[in-house]
Amino acid sequence: MAKFDLQETPRLGGYTKEFGDSGMVLREITELVLTSLAMPMGGKTKLTAAVKDTFGLTLPTALKSKLSTDGQTRLVQTQPDQYFCLTSKPVPSAMASVAYVTDQTHGWVGLDISGPNVREALERICPVDLDPSAFPVHAAARTTMEHLGVLIIRVSKDQFCLLSASSSAESFLHAVELSIKNVI
């Protein structure tokens, strides 16, 4: 039956680049599964319990993501009643009984940017204050960069995860690449 096999192609073809000897590295995050969990009205208790059971996490609040102890699951509040679940494999289907689940994996492109100049590069496009005092590790925010909506998460001191719409992935990559080139 499967005469026509479909291949999955990362939006940016698995882009990865080291910028000379600057230590700056930009990489497409290809292994990411992204799931939106919308909290049913009046369903906070159930969702909280399920998230605890499934991921060992409490529900995140605005601006601060939660990372599971095994490092495999990150939860981010994206709207007052909506969470993004960043995992390496699909979330258990049982989540559908406590949340409205929408697979977002293919709707986004993820870029991992890291290196000593990461703040300088991002301050060319990111209006959010990324000072560690205001945006510590695990902080998360949705904002706009070069007209594109972006979810930015601080992974470590000099490393950020940037998620933006997959259809404009090339433009987004160009914006981030240019920002790095402009500061190194």
């Binding site: 192609t9 009205m41 070069e146 259809s167």
Partner: protein, 981 residues
């Protein structure tokens, strides 16, 4: 020419680093640390420019960004930049500059004839001279003005430099790193505040670099360097040199321009300048003060300069501005110039102090004249002598003038702050409402002595740190002399002849008096009538002088006369900087479908739809033009099967217990009873009853719908849905998320679409019974890849849309084409899509144009009156449902060889072409390969009752008038049997 005005000892230029440069083709040498102005002066170049209006010879007047005269054309070729102030252009090896605004050589400007015509070029001459006849404006006057009153010239080519923007955040922004700014930065930063210290100069210290002050027992510039080093070592401080804060905006937002590479020969591909948007909790304006001139006859000759600048050239750059320098002052700071020049070994000819009092000092060999002023000057291309009011003539090649200091209040005015007058310093200080969170320190606030500036900065830094919840340290302000400088206001020397007030705009004392005499009493009018204070310097050295002269002319005090206020930017900003990197293809992001790459390889031509790039057709070899491709695509689809990427349509995932009720509110037609596994066409109205958007919405599960919107309205519809959800139905359990980018979706249309998809879709009964028209389902394709299948048709054919997760999109188009090979499957683009939808009578943006109702579109029945929905109440208004409104129709030309044009208006045969006779208009047209002639859609009054009538499509723009037959808009398969088959 050699560096023969360079003083032997003084200055901070690095004499071990000589730099070659050229001005007007002449090679010269300067040093690292020079500006172009200081290097020119060191080489004895006095004449550097011609004035704006009269083309008078002009020299360097200041040593800073306030420069009105010395504007040059910097660099060459595509990199050339006009109107660069030589006083802020840092010298680099290989710099080339030319003077501007003259015809013929600089020392013999043919346009200098304007100087003789000056009686005709006085205040308001633009308004008076170029008013009549009107027709002359565009063809005669404007070109003349543009070429004569030009400043520098653009290359005419694209700017090869890169620019960028950025965002910064801080607790405290300090604009200006002079004594007050440094002092404030130290106290605030020591308390732990996040400080940005922005300084327009290349080095820290401000006036300290130009003076011979002492602070804390050390020379002031040593103190400045110590302070810089302390600040630079703090992680909470960011020092930004070559950065000018140019604007203060709402809620503590400031803009600043950082000149990254202007001081280098090449930018090496990096942005030349960066425009920063700085978010601040507090800000301190510590921009210092600007010296101003005194007006007297012929006070504009090269060699006449501001006294503080003459001092700066000696102290900072080690340059003597003349062989025999004289000083004219009305305040004590003029004597600082005398002291410093003598100390540096410059020959001082005379000191003229307008105040009738005892001299402050005496200098051997220097005449000192108290209670006098300069009445006139001589020297054709540079100053040679001055004549005093007491009749005395003094030979001098440089006159250093100090008319007092004006605090730099500009940034305090950007949010309606209105400066107030202080008699004791004869200047305006910040007043009225300052921008939120802004304070002022040092000379900018009228604290003109060094000690006062250091103190005010220190105190303010501490006070603001405290406001921010920090604990100030116990440090003291650095100690310095705090001698008040005395001033006795002196504005201009009365007499015949022209005395310049605004050098950049060639505004004289006479112009100001004349405009006053002509009835321009408000300072705002004075400014606009005389052009005083306009252009690149914004009157930094001249405004107060002009106001004072106006006050005198009206017999009022200066406070009564008032002052104009300032708008951003503080100093000129290049257009390229404002544009940043957003130019060319980087102006806006581009969205690509997942079949883009495949399309590009298969002849696709792309068109922009919003930010999307969509294939408009796929050209094949041998096709003469786009019509060939489009016709082929339409015919192939109607005959066999066509494939179109429809990913760009907005897709919104709607889930929740109240999802159906929610849709029932946002769509005008009923949605409560859509069965699971079915798609329904939905019409959205605006609240005023006008049609807004349409699309199909599929019910995948009891509480799960997927809505599609038009490509153009995807963002707007989503925004509106969130509005309805949060603001109108806050208690509904409904959740939205865009899935537009998550799915790659393809329309597969034509009689063979079922056969083709049967090879792709896994285990689905594709028969008409198993998967009927308007069915939908979650399925898998190609052996297990999740997918969604919809049986919907925009073309009127038997058709499906199949969606796969976007990362499978590229693979999917290839699979569909391969599976379709046996049917000669043809990819089609937006043009063929458009032809087919016109043939079928489907409406798009041309018809849903923001003025049409459901009734106009022939969909009156889709506005349910049995329920509430957005727009349904106001759609009931009488005029919107009257019988005699326009209705959607199809049209075809009576003469089938004729082409139709969208935008043509309908008229009855024989009717005059008047608006009264207007019967409607043509909205969409296409050549229909299906019918073999042009067809169109349009709106005709009562058109639904007029099928078969012949009317005219009159097109005044294209000069066409042809007869058309009104037909049903559903020209292709009006019964819809094909799509249901």
């Amino acid at each position: 020419m050699t560096d023969n005005y360079r003083l032997p000892e003084s200055g901070k230029v690095d004499r071990s680093k000589p730099l070659n440069f050229s001005f007007n083709g002449k090679d010269m040498v300067g040093y690292a640390g020079d500006t172009l102005a200081s290097a020119l002066l060191a080489n004895g170049t006095r004449l550097v420019a011609r004035s704006f209006k009269y083309h008078r010879p002009r020299g360097i007047f200041t040593a800073g960004s306030e420069e009105p005269n010395a504007m040059v054309q910097l660099r060459s070729g595509d990199h050339t930049e006009p109107n660069t102030r030589a006083t802020v252009a840092e010298l680099f090896d290989g710099l080339t500059a030319t003077s501007q605004n003259h015809r013929g050589p600089l020392n013999f400007d043919l346009m200098a004839v304007n100087d003789l015509l000056s009686p005709f070029l006085s205040a308001g001459f633009y308004y008076k001279t170029f008013m009549w006849p009107r027709a002359f404006w565009e063809k005669v006057y404007e070109p003349i003005i543009r070429s004569a009153a030009g400043l520098g010239k653009l290359s005419g080519n694209e700017d090869p430099d890169q620019y960028d923007k950025g965002f910064l955040h801080c607790d405290l922004l300090i604009a200006g790193a002079g004594p007050a700014g440094l002092s404030a930065a130290l106290s605030a930063a020591r308390a732990g505040a996040r400080v940005i210290l922005a300084e327009e100069d290349a080095i820290i210290g401000g006036r300290l670099n130009a003076e011979t002050h002492e602070i804390a027992g050390d020379s002031a510039d040593v103190w400045a360097e110590t302070a810089r080093a302390e600040l630079a070592a703090m992680p909470n401080v960011r020092i930004m040199t070559r950065t000018t804060v140019v604007g203060a905006f709402d809620h503590g937002i400031y803009s600043a321009v950082e000149r990254k590479t202007d001081h280098l020969a090449t930018s090496a591909g990096k942005p030349r300048q960066v425009l920063w948007r700085i978010y601040t909790k507090r800000a301190i304006v510590a921009g210092g003060a600007t010296e101003r001139a005194v007006a007297f006859k012929n006070n504009d000759r090269p060699g006449i300069m501001l006294a503080g600048s003459v001092r700066a050239y000696a102290n900072r750059f080690g340059v003597a501005t003349g062989d025999a320098v004289s000083i004219l002052t009305n305040n004590d700071t003029g004597w600082d110039t005398a002291r410093d020049l003598v100390a540096a070994g410059v020959n001082l000819a005379a000191i003229i102090d307008t105040r009738d009092m005892a001299p402050l000092h005496s200098f051997a060999g220097t005449s000192i004249i108290m209670g006098a002023a300069v009445a006139d000057t001589n020297g054709r291309l540079a100053l040679s002598s001055i004549k005093l009011t007491n009749g005395q003539t003094i030979k001098t090649d440089c006159l250093a003038v100090s008319g007092g200091w004006s605090p730099n209040v500009h940034l305090t005015c950007h949010q309606r702050g209105r400066p107030t007058w202080r008699d004791d310093i004869a200047g305006f200080v910040p007043g009225g409402e300052l921008p939120v969170g802004q304070s002022v320190a040092g000379a900018a606030n009228g604290d003109l002595s060094l000690g006062a500036a250091l103190n005010s900065g220190h105190k303010l830094g501490n006070a603001l740190a405290k406001e921010l919840g920090l604990t100030p340290t116990k440090s003291q302000a650095a100690k310095a002399a705090d001698e008040p400088s005395s001033i006795s206001a002196f504005w201009h020397v009365a007499g015949e002849g022209r005395a310049w007030v605004d050098l950049q705009n060639d505004v004289t004392v006479k112009d100001i008096k004349q405009s006053q005499a002509e009835g321009f009493r408000s300072v705002e009018h004075l400014k606009r009538y005389t052009t005083m204070g306009m252009a690149t310097d914004q009157g930094k050295t001249s405004n107060v002088l002009g106001l004072a002269i106006m006050a005198e002319a009206t017999g009022k005090t200066i406070p009564e006369t008032g002052t104009t206020i300032f708008r951003p930017p503080y100093t000129p900003v290049a257009m390229g900087t404002l544009g940043g990197r957003a130019r060319g293809k980087d102006y806006a992001p581009t969205r690509l479908t997942t079949s883009h790459e495949w399309g590009a390889k298969n002849g696709a031509s792309f068109t922009e739809v919003g930010n999307w790039m969509r294939a408009e057709w796929y050209a094949k070899q041998g096709e003469a033009g786009w019509r060939d491709s489009v016709d082929r695509e339409v015919i192939a689809t109607r005959k066999s099967v066509g494939i179109c990427d429809v990913t760009t349509l907005g897709k919104i995932d709607i889930q929740g217990r109240d999802a159906a009720a929610f849709l029932n509110l946002v769509y005008s037609n009923p949605f409560l009873k859509v069965p699971v596994g079915r798609v329904r066409y939905g019409l959205m109205l605006r609240e005023d009853g006008i049609c807004y958007d349409d699309g199909t919405t599929a019910r995948l599960a009891e509480n799960h719908f997927v809505m599609t919107t038009t490509t153009a309205n995807a963002v707007l519809v989503y925004r509106r849905l969130e509005f309805v959800r949060q603001c109108l139905c806050p208690n509904m359990d409904v959740h939205l998320i865009s899935t537009t980018d998550a799915w790659a979706q393809f329309a597969v249309a034509g009689p063979n679409s079922r056969a083709l998809l049967s090879k792709i879709v896994d285990d689905v009964d594709m028969s008409n019974e198993g998967f009927p028209f308007m069915a939908c389902a979650n399925v898998t394709v190609c052996g297990g890849t999740p997918a969604r299948l919809f049986r919907i048709s925009f073309s009127g054919e038997l058709a499906y849309e199949v969606a796969v997760p976007a990362r499978y999109g590229d693979s999917m188009i290839k699979a569909l084409m391969e599976a379709g090979q046996e049917f000669d499957a043809t990819p089609y683009g937006t043009e063929a899509l458009s032809v087919m939808r016109i043939e079928k009578g489907h409406v798009v943006g041309n018809e849903l144009n923001g003025t049409t109702t459901a009734l106009n579109l022939g969909m009156g029945g889709m506005v349910s009156v049995k329920k509430d929905s957005i727009g349904s109440t106001l759609a009931k208004r009488e005029l919107m449902i009257a019988d005699d409104v326009v209705r959607l129709v199809g049209i075809r030309p009576v003469d089938k060889s004729m082409k139709l044009d969208a935008g043509a208006h309908f008229l009855e045969r024989g009717a005059d072409t008047t608006m009264d006779n207007d019967q409607g208009w043509v909205t969409s047209v296409a050549y229909s390969p299906t019918f073999g002639h042009h067809i169109g859609l349009g709106f005709v009054i009562r058109g639904h009752e007029r099928h078969g009538d012949i009317i005219r499509a009159w097109d005044g723009v294209r000069g066409k008038d042809i007869e058309v037959e009104i037909v049903s808009p559903h020209m292709y398969d009006p019964e819809g049997g094909i799509q249901r088959g």
